[in-house]
Amino acid sequence: MKALSLAILGIFLVVLLYAEGGLPDRGEPEAPANMHVSAYYIERSLSDTRTPNLVTAVLADYRGYDTLGETVVIFAAGLACTLVLLRGRGDRDR
């Protein structure tokens, strides 16, 4: 079983190393991540939102839907924590 796990990990490592060779360099201007909407954000965020902090403009405005999801995740974590721990307490009372 241990040998199997090690073999799977080894194969995975080779696949990742192979895939890494195809990634663009860090900060590469021709990379897809830097070609799509980044230039628009950098050029227009100040005139669009009056917000000098680019990160805030992207986080709360352009990517507001994503931030809503993050907030839901945090809220769900609190709910889940309460439900799990409350349930333990209820069982002890019975």
């Binding site: 005139s47 669009d48 939102t49 009056r50 917000t51 000098p52 902090n53 990160v55 805030t56 403009a57 986080l59 709360a60 405005d61 507001g64 839907y65 931030t67 809503l68 907030t71 839901v72 945090i74 809220f75 974590a77 609190g78 924590c81 309460t82 721990l85 409350l86 333990g88 307490r89 002890r92």
Partner: protein, 146 residues
């Protein structure tokens, strides 16, 4: 864990530090437009001030100042504010979370987006604040009971 900490120094210092943390948290939230910061960071700071209260002032005193139920209400209010901001934009003919469609008496779309971002940051801060205090209260009460 949630008993009163028997030390005059700790008690007095926490009394001084808690409002300072809360004031700084408000600054972090409000200044997110201009510097690193925003709802998540400010909410964590607000939660940290309450956790300091819980650790130093003891159960009765800190529950009187900040009841455990209030934390849940705050978290839920934050979520409500966030989703309502999005839905109001939809009701006014924009797309979801399009702050330009918010019904605020401001002339330019840029200003509308500016205050829309602030609204959302406040909502995030409320949710993070409430949730972290809720998690701490649950874990804290449990260790006390065991």
């Amino acid at each position: 864990m949630t008993d009163r900490y028997q030390s005059v120094v700790v008690e007095l210092v926490s009394r001084l530090v808690v409002p300072a943390i809360q004031l700084f948290a408000l600054y972090v939230i409000a200044h997110g437009h201009y510097s690193p910061g925003g709802g998540f960071q400010g909410g964590v700071l607000l939660a940290a001030s309450i956790l300091l209260l819980r650790l130093t002032q003891g159960r009765e005193e800190s529950f009187r100042r900040f009841p455990p139920g209030a934390a849940f209400t705050l978290a839920a209010l934050g979520m409500l504010l966030f989703v309502l901001t999005g839905l109001v934009s939809v009701a006014r003919g924009g797309v979801f979370l399009d702050y330009a469609a918010l019904p605020l008496p401001l002339a330019s779309t840029a200003s509308l987006r500016y205050y829309g971002i602030l609204l959302v940051e406040v909502a995030i801060a409320l949710t993070v604040w409430g949730t972290l205090v809720v998690i701490f209260d649950q874990i804290g009460t449990r260790t006390r009971d065991v």
